[in-house]
């Protein structure tokens, strides 16, 4: 029948009209500046730089590799490399950004900088209240304004931040294991050298005894990396030396 749908629709809006006065849960909006809806975990606005520890300058993960600067489609990232170096999270000496600016009036929130960063140093923020009366300086965020702690990152993107932390820890462990192995190898070599030196007087008699002394020196170095457990009795010496080095 003609007009049936119109009546149905009018009843629906009338129900909304009356219902919105009666039940609060009908209201789909909140009164914004006073009340806020928590942002979704996947929300993203503009990038920020993550730092570890209490000091933002020391803990900044960025190593000024400039990959994000080169990949940024609208070219809104400006990076100057530092002349000196500082240790990164695994203790390796790295250069750091002397200047890291993002022009958020240009940024298009595409997240490509986040995807290309090999150091998990740049992430997307959820802060959207960035209005300013200075449209040039006010929208060009410098390194200090961009730096946010890892705790903040955990707060806004908990799942993602935990994944990143796990990955970084794994990487760190791998690097440590490598260092350990390298140290073990060095220690073993030193021990072998010492043993060779000790055996030197005997060797002076003939060249033959020299061969067995080099063979055991190489073997632990090769095995230490893959399976350290079976040759547990031998490492104690390098272990202590490595701990001292760390």
């Amino acid at each position: 029948m003609l007009g049936e749908g119109i009546v149905k629709g009018m009843l629906e809006t009338a129900k909304n009209f009356a219902g919105s006065f009666v039940s609060e849960e009908r209201l789909t909006t909140v009164e914004y500046p006073e009340q806020r809806i928590p942002t979704a975990e996947a929300a993203r606005v503009f990038p920020f730089l993550v730092y570890d520890g209490p000091d933002w300058e020391a803990g900044l993960r960025c190593v000024a590799c400039q990959i994000c600067e080169k990949e940024c489609p609208p070219k809104c990232i400006y990076i100057d490399k530092s002349k000196d170096k500082k240790p990164d999270y695994v203790g390796k000496m790295q250069i750091y950004p002397a200047r890291f600016d993002i022009d958020i009036s240009v940024c298009m929130s595409c997240q490509i900088c986040v995807e290309v960063c090999p150091f998990e140093a740049i992430k997307m923020d959820t802060q959207f209240e960035l209005a300013t009366d200075d449209r040039f300086g006010g929208l060009l965020l410098d390194c200090h304004e961009l730096a946010k702690s890892n705790e903040y990152y955990h707060q806004i993107h908990p799942t993602e931040a935990s994944e990143v932390d796990a990955r970084l820890a794994e990487e760190k462990a791998k690097v440590e294991a490598k260092n350990k192995a390298a140290a073990a190898a060095a220690a073993a070599k030193a021990a072998a050298d010492a043993a060779a030196k000790a055996a030197a007087p005997a060797a002076e008699a003939g060249v033959k005894p020299a061969a067995p002394s080099t063979a055991p020196a190489n073997a632990p170095a090769a095995v230490a990396e893959s399976m350290p457990a079976p040759i547990a009795p031998k490492p104690p010496v390098p272990k202590s030396s490595e701990e001292g080095g760390e």
Partner: protein
């Protein structure tokens, strides 16, 4: 006491005019009435804008504006200041004179319509014998201003919007007039105060409003549809469909001229609601006989605001029509039905008092309605498009 309160504005006018010499009294009385209309209805417009926004918000389960002043009721003041301080841009290629005149013509012609509306007992500014005719003449003049605005802007969206507006207004003008004619056939008068007086009778406690008769109800609905289209309100707001035509005929208007268009739209809504009230809803007469102690002007404004609420309600519910749907609806449904309603009115008039006319008139309209909605609005099954040469 009650009659004094009923006539308070008339007494006030007479008292004020009494200070003048006799020769100036009629002119001064009319002038006072004009001033009252020019003050009251824009004030009502300001209130309506904020109520409309709040009401629409509620219909969409929002709160609506509530920031400016208590509950957001100072919002129209903020809007007014904003529109007054905005730059008045006139396009370089626009016809400056016509561009300037269009909003003025709109507002002036709409205000003229209020002259003949009876807003209470003895409260029509001019008791014209052919007030209805005068009202429709003024209503038709608003089309001129719309086309002036669209043409003078020299903008394709403005022109398209104006052409849509004129096509729509002319189509629905016919319906508007014909539905009013049925009232004239029964009351036998073109004077709006006389039409209201004819409805101001009661059987028991129930009033003799024309909307409570079968023909009156039908023509009231048709009048409402035509009035919505005349005032370019949703769902007939094609001339200013912002998703298609930027803003239609007032695309090139800014600042206060735009505010005048906005004012004109709402004033047209008030005046056409006032006319509908006078024609079908008994004008200033009380809905029940025992409520006659309440001043007549209160009932008039209450009915007008109810009609405005229905406008807002429809705006909050219905989506915008397409141009062809609009025209089909006007010419294939509303107009034939209104013509049939004229026949029905004539039957009602000549069948005499008694139950027969109620049964006959209702049956004719119901059968016609069902038949027309079955035949005219049958869903056409259009299959998948076939191509003859492609594929």
């Amino acid at each position: 006491m009650a009659s004094n309160l009923d006539q308070i504005f008339i007494l006030l006018r007479n008292w004020l005019v009494g200070f003048l010499p006799t020769a100036f009294r009629p002119a001064a009385g009319v002038l006072l009435g004009v001033v009252a209309i020019v003050c009251v209805f824009p004030g009502l417009f300001a209130l309506t804008t904020v109520f409309e926004r709040k009401g629409l918000g509620r219909m969409q389960n929002r709160l609506g504006p509530n920031r400016v002043g208590p509950f957001g009721f100072f919002q129209p003041i903020a809007d007014g200041i904003k529109s007054l301080t905005k730059e008045d841009v006139v396009p370089f290629t626009a016809n400056a004179v016509v561009h300037f005149l269009a909003p003025l013509v709109l507002v002036v012609t709409v205000f003229m319509g209020f002259a003949v509306l009876p807003m209470g007992r003895n409260m029509a500014l001019v008791d014209m014998d052919s007030g209805l005719l005068f009202f429709f003449a003024m209503g038709a003049a608003t089309e001129l201003s719309v086309f002036m605005a669209g043409w003078s802007s020299r903008n394709k969206y403005s022109l398209l919007g104006a052409m849509r507006a004129v096509a729509q207004m002319i189509s629905y003008e016919v319906v508007l007039l014909l539905s009013a004619v049925s009232v004239v056939m029964i009351s036998g008068s073109l004077s709006l105060p006389a039409i209201v007086a004819a409805q101001n009778q009661y059987s028991g406690i129930f009033p003799h409003w024309y909307v409570f008769t079968p023909w009156g109800f039908a023509s009231c609905v048709m009048f409402g549809i035509a009035a919505t289209a005349e005032t370019n309100r949703s769902p007939f707001d094609l001339p200013e469909g912002e998703s298609e035509l930027v803003a239609g005929y007032h695309t090139e208007y800014s600042g206060f001229k735009f505010a005048l268009f906005f004012l004109g739209e709402y004033l047209a809504m008030f005046s056409i609601s006032g006319l509908g009230t006078a024609l079908f809803l008994g004008g200033w007469s009380a809905p029940f006989s025992f409520l006659s102690v309440v001043p007549s002007w209160f009932w008039f404004f209450a009915k007008v605001m109810t009609a405005i609420f229905v406008f807002i309600w429809m705006r909050g519910t219905l989506p915008r029509l397409r141009q062809d749907q609009l025209m089909n609806f006007a010419w294939k449904f509303v107009l034939p039905f209104t013509l049939l309603d004229l026949l029905d009115t004539a039957l009602w008039r000549f069948l005499g008092e008694g139950w027969q006319r109620w049964v006959f008139c209702t049956a004719i309209l119901l059968v016609a309605y069902v038949a027309m909605s079955r035949i005219g609005f049958r869903r056409q099954h259009i299959g998948p498009r076939s191509y003859r040469y492609a594929d």
